[in-house]
Subunit: 410 residues, 2 copies
């Protein structure tokens, strides 16, 4: 695999990783904007705009967008997170020109009023659907409780109220400010010819407007000792989240934090697994490390019969205290590395996986990391690194949110 990079005259960056033996190619447009970049008035606009991007351009109706993707058998989709809005497609190598043509076209959407009003209903339905999913609902509210007034606590979907109140003009304004060339990275991975891809992308995107799309408040979040219970009597299970601060995406400590979260809460063979899931006390229990620009967080979560909640919470706090004071073992670290190595290698087997990794890497760090470099970074994590990350990001103060039948927590 080889890496290439090119910046167009308007500031749009193209990054590519070539694997001539791949059977397909994947291309993604990474717009560095998401829920954290929204004002309260605009809550949900990034995600709503992601939908609108598929609703047509001056050159294509929504039907044609869909049909043109389907005709080349593209596996295409988009997602919106707190920090990014990403549009991508995986295709057989011969269809890369068409895929770039469609993606570049839709990234300049018409945002027609009629479509806007119709799509609003879709978004409101989607909000309703997520409200019916206890896990998602607990996650969203835990994030809000933990990040408090930090913009990373913003809801990705927004609320029924905020989306209802949103106007087409607000969306246009947000689009004009955020979808500027220097705020967009195009990543290509798999079987393709670099020079051809650059020419294609330059032709389609070279005229896109220049602008700055700064991100406010890229600051670390402070720990927040806090507890909240959302009672939903009709549910059978209790869903609980525990959040604590962790290293940011650009921190060299992120590898140690990732390994630590795997040791404590991987869904197989971790401390939480053996203490809670294996004996049948919890239906599921895990910890994962989420890194963002400027800050990070450990998300620990479990679901269980409501009566077990209090006991499980006490056990988790005890496990965290033990790790905090005694660290982890050599053997635990070796196993975590073995899992990570395998995960990284297997994740690299598809162009889609590499496109995501290369695109995200560039968006966050302006850096390319090959599979081998990524493996080496994880392999270098020592017990001392784990100790350091525990000292800098202790588990002492937790934000706890429970959603389910329980009326209260002690």
């Amino acid at each position: 695999m080889s890496f290439q990079k090119h910046v167009l005259s308007n500031g749009l960056t193209i990054v590519g990783e070539l694997s001539p033996s791949a059977k397909s190619v994947a291309v993604g447009f990474f717009v560095k904007t998401g829920a954290r970049d929204e004002t309260p008035d605009e809550s949900g606009v990034s995600h709503f705009l992601e939908h609108m991007v598929f609703k047509g351009t001056p050159h294509r109706t929504a039907l044609e967008v869909n049909f043109d993707f389907d005709r080349i058998g593209a596996s295409y989709n988009a997602f919106t997170s707190e920090e990014n809005t990403v549009f991508y497609a995986a295709i057989l190598p011969e269809y890369l020109p068409q895929a770039v043509d469609i993606l570049a076209d839709i990234l300049r959407p018409s945002l027609r009023g009629d479509d806007f009003n119709m799509e609003k209903n879709v978004i409101i339905e989607e909000i309703g659907m997520y409200d019916d999913q206890p896990m998602w609902c607990a996650y969203d509210n835990a994030k809000k409780a933990f990040f408090a007034d930090h913009p990373l606590g913003n809801s990705i979907l927004g609320t029924k109220e905020s989306v209802t109140a949103l106007t087409r003009e607000q969306m246009q304004g947000y689009y004009d400010r955020r979808y500027v060339a220097p705020n967009i990275t195009v990543a290509v991975a798999g079987n393709f010819v670099w020079d051809d891809a650059v020419k294609l992308i330059d032709k389609q995107c070279g005229h896109w407007p220049v602008g700055t799309a700064p991100r406010a408040k890229v600051t670390p979040v402070a720990p927040r000792k806090y507890q909240q219970v959302m009672t939903k009597e009709k549910l059978k299970q209790e869903q609980v989240f525990l959040l604590a601060p962790a290293p940011a995406a650009d921190s060299p400590e992120r590898y140690a934090a990732d390994a630590l979260a795997m040791i404590i809460g991987d869904d197989s063979g971790s401390r939480l697994y053996w203490a809670l899931v294996d004996p049948g006390l919890a239906e599921s229990a895990d910890m994962s490390f989420h890194d963002y620009e400027g800050t990070g967080s450990y998300f620990t979560s479990f679901s269980c019969e409501p009566d077990n909640t209090q006991e499980i919470l006490a056990l988790i706090k005890e496990i965290l205290r033990e790790v905090q004071s005694e660290g982890v073992s050599d053997e635990e670290l070796a196993v975590a590395k073995s899992k990570i190595l395998s995960r990284v290698v297997r994740g690299s087997e598809r162009p889609m996986g590499r496109m995501q990794a290369v695109g995200m890497g560039w968006t966050y760090l302006k850096t390319y990391r090959s599979v081998d470099e990524e493996l080496a970074n994880f392999d270098a994590v020592s017990l001392k690194n784990i100790r350091d990350v525990l000292d800098r990001y202790p588990f002492d103060e937790l934000t706890v949110l429970a959603l389910g039948p329980l009326a209260k927590l002690e």
Copy 2:
């Protein structure tokens, strides 16, 4: 890629697809047994047994099973369906011997009483968790309504009552009858040496007991015009399933049925998408084709604001009537083929995907189909094949199940 097959003296079949350029290898043990093979007394035993397989053997405690998999960085898991119980792992090529050793060992589990009683709680928690998921709950009950007294209507998880009543001895009896060598296929795909794999598997599994594990009632299901409403007032969305008979897994018509379901109800660019999802009438709407041994079914489903349910049901019935009487267009078929081709090629990029395809192909059909053959089979589907499958499996009589706030359907 090349295919190899070997049958051990006790009747266990090994199938392999070699890709020397792959970076990993995947191995799966396919036991041809599932919910459809259970008596009412045993409801849920296949899935419960799948869990027990990870609870230890005469040679390994549960902790050691987990630890041994983790030490080689295996991505491992298992699943139970109506027809199969499958245990699998993906590893870096150098770890295939260890992966086979662990999988073969755990397939001869101790089924200890203490573990059985403890794991029962896990299963009951899992049943509770699924009960909180409207989509799953609607799916499970729709299947039950459609298959009626056909064993394919059996619940995979069983009920809280059936699992509570299950004894260790019943599980042991089921295991002894169903986990016999001729009822098991081992599939290996990716980067490995065939002769070495056969030797490994023979050494581990060559002594497994012989036996017959017949499957009762492998008969086509008849259409069932039926309507059921499950009222759950606290939900915000209505989940609806419509089921109709379709070709079986061994039918040459399965390719036409798959293309037809894609044309009508793929999640992008299908008739249902344009009629329901795009205009925001439904949150989601799709149709998929499920093929089983001896029979098959089209599953159409949607979720929406409860007030829209009646209108959407009428629209779907109209779409099905139109396809039934007028068929589909040349262009629709061409697009469906393009999607399927791309899906098959991309699905073949990982050893895990090929292991599943090769293992399932052998379990159902005792046949190997290469990626190219599979592509050719789909490519050969004609408008006449679609017409034929519509004539043999019309959409006239539907089993409809709605779950959500609605009190009734017209």
